[in-house]
Amino acid sequence: MGFFKKPKYITPKQKKRDIPAGLWRKCPGCDGVLFQQALADSLQVCPHCGYHFPITHKERLACLADPDSWEEHDSNLESVDALEFTGVAPYPEKLAYNQKKTGMQDAIVTGVCSIHGRPTALGIMDFSFLGASMGSVVGERITCLAERALEERLPLILVCASGGARMYEGMLSLMQMAKTSGALSRLRETRLPYISILTHPTMAGVMASFASLGDVILAEPGALIGFAGERVIRETTHEELPSGFQTAEFLLDHGLIDQIVPRSELKARISTFLDLLDGFTSFAAGASEREGGDGKGEPAVRDASASESA
């Protein structure tokens, strides 16, 4: 009998050291271990290798907008299960889960703020909400924001991040590409600048609409940017993908984006471009009018020879 007796193993009860969760974070760029607080102080950028961790819309807003200048708009729009999408976890459940997780209504916040004192229409997409996929609400908010920019003569900034279209909304999602691009076609008839900021990752339907249409296109270092996903390309073409394929650096090399800007310099750079693109006020009416009265964004004198329309 004794032979078949199950040996008794003793699990020694070790006293675990009391490390609060979320105090440290490993950097995917350099494998270094980073102190969370230090990371927060450096705008979630690894101080050793410059890896840009994704940030929430709140952190982004704090990076870009002047303190207390943010006024959110269209926050009363909510996604609905228009297709009554069947077969997988119900869309309303997904939405509720992501709303709870992120504290957002949907994958973008839009509103008006000032950037170094300049009133600006700003939209920020947040990848943590359903991969910042574009559904009706995302498209509507961007369109409303562009229309507001047009109406109030404000420059437009969109901080883009997205996995692409929101499948749960089917073709209504695809149509947001057309809708947002349409709004930008109207903005383009004016002299109001639109700056598109590409952050990690900006792909597919969002890239094939407003994200690619900036008068100036900036990107964060290392951001994944492209149209088709890597897996799809590999499966379709059986090609070996070049190193650094679809990164911000790759796209700078291939001529799509104007600059790669580290997060810490982004606000200042946006501000510089908004100033540099404001050519007409400084020429026509003198710099004194730049910030006030009727001189906002629109030149006092229309010069046909300087028209930018194509």
Partner: protein, 337 residues
């Protein structure tokens, strides 16, 4: 004509084979089979009606992808006269997956843009199976702008699985090419009619799809993602493509309901490939009617209504007060149309 048989067409083919055997038997032995033939014919007609009236979305997708389905060039050959093809994007290459050119429709000048998948193996390779590179979209825009300058209405025939997902396409920014087309099509001062004649594959289809009227052939589909791709992502298994096809609401009747399609162009009972001439006739009539209606509009009206048309796309709820949450009576539905 030998046409490949789809799975759901099998019972129909079996019955047709049976009829063939009966006829042969009658000929060989000189028997009168008129009565049997009659009953078999009516049975066959009934079966066809039932099968095609109850197509699942997935079966509809298979018809839309049928290798013998008429393509852009087939429609051009049948409904466009004085056809002159235009080549090249003036930057990099001539993308043969996208056909562009000028001609006449019922005597009126027209520009035609459309993806072409190719009929046989050799043409399919040349056409890259109808999946355009960025050059295809840039060529399309060049010709559309040309048409715009000279006051020529534009007909877009959509038939693509999608823009080509390849290294070169990414290096030359296919996303940007599509985005610019979307933006610029809103500014064109001439009527635009788009017809989804086969596959409407996502951004690659929409890249020539910002139109004043969007028509769909009865068995065509138009979707944000292929059913296989959607199944792979949401179901984690491509085998669920039929479920995804149903869930995505990608058929012509579904999209008419959603307001994405404006009109359905009827196909012959067993699909466009059974009678390309009749299908081309239907397309010609529908398209000509649309252009007739749109000819009343000024360029400004066209741009304004085109904007409004796409501006309405989307479905969401609007809470009456941003602050007052959980007020169901304040929730209203903003419909698509």
């Amino acid at each position: 004509m030998t046409l490949s048989t789809l799975e759901f067409e099998r019972p129909i083919r079996d019955l047709e084979d049976k009829r063939e055997q009966l006829l042969q038997l009658a000929q060989e032995h000189g028997i009168d089979v008129a009565r049997e033939l009659d009953s078999l014919n009516s049975k066959l007609a009934d079966l066809k009606r039932t099968v095609y009236a109850n197509l699942t979305p997935w079966q509809s997708v298979q018809l839309a992808r049928h290798p013998s389905r008429p393509q852009t060039q087939d429609y051009i050959n049948r409904i466009i006269t004085d056809w002159q093809e235009l080549h090249g994007d003036r930057h990099f290459a001539d993308d043969e997956a996208m056909i562009t050119g000028l001609g006449k429709l019922e005597g009126r000048k027209i520009a035609v843009i459309g993806q072409q998948k190719g009929q046989d193996a050799i043409e399919r390779v040349r056409r890259n199976f109808g999946m355009p590179h960025p050059e295809g979209y840039r060529k399309a825009l060049r010709v559309m702008k040309l048409a715009g300058r000279f006051g020529i209405p534009i007909l877009c025939l959509i038939d693509t699985a999608g823009a080509y997902p390849g290294v070169g396409a990414e290096e030359r920014h296919v996303a940007e090419a599509i985005a610019v087309n979307l933006r610029e099509m809103f500014t064109l001062p001439v009527p635009i009619v788009a017809v989804v004649i086969g596959e409407g594959g996502s951004g690659g289809a929409l890249g020539i799809g910002v139109a004043d009227r969007v028509l769909m052939l009865q068995y065509a589909y138009y979707s944000v993602i292929s059913p296989e791709g959607c199944a792979a992502i949401l179901w984690k298994d491509r085998a669920f493509a039929p479920d995804a096809a149903a869930a995505l609401k990608m058929t012509a009747p579904d999209l008419l309901k959603l307001g994405v399609a404006d009109e359905i162009v009827p196909e012959p009972l067993e699909g466009a490939h059974r009678d390309p001439d009749a299908t081309a006739q239907e397309v010609q009539q529908a398209v000509a009617r649309c252009f007739n209606q749109l000819s009343e509009y000024s360029p400004e009206q066209l741009q304004a209504t085109r904007y409004e048309h796409f501006r309405r796309m989307g479905k969401f709820s609007v809470k009456s007060q941003p602050a007052a949450e959980d007020k169901p009576q304040g929730v209203e539905d903003k419909g698509v149309h």
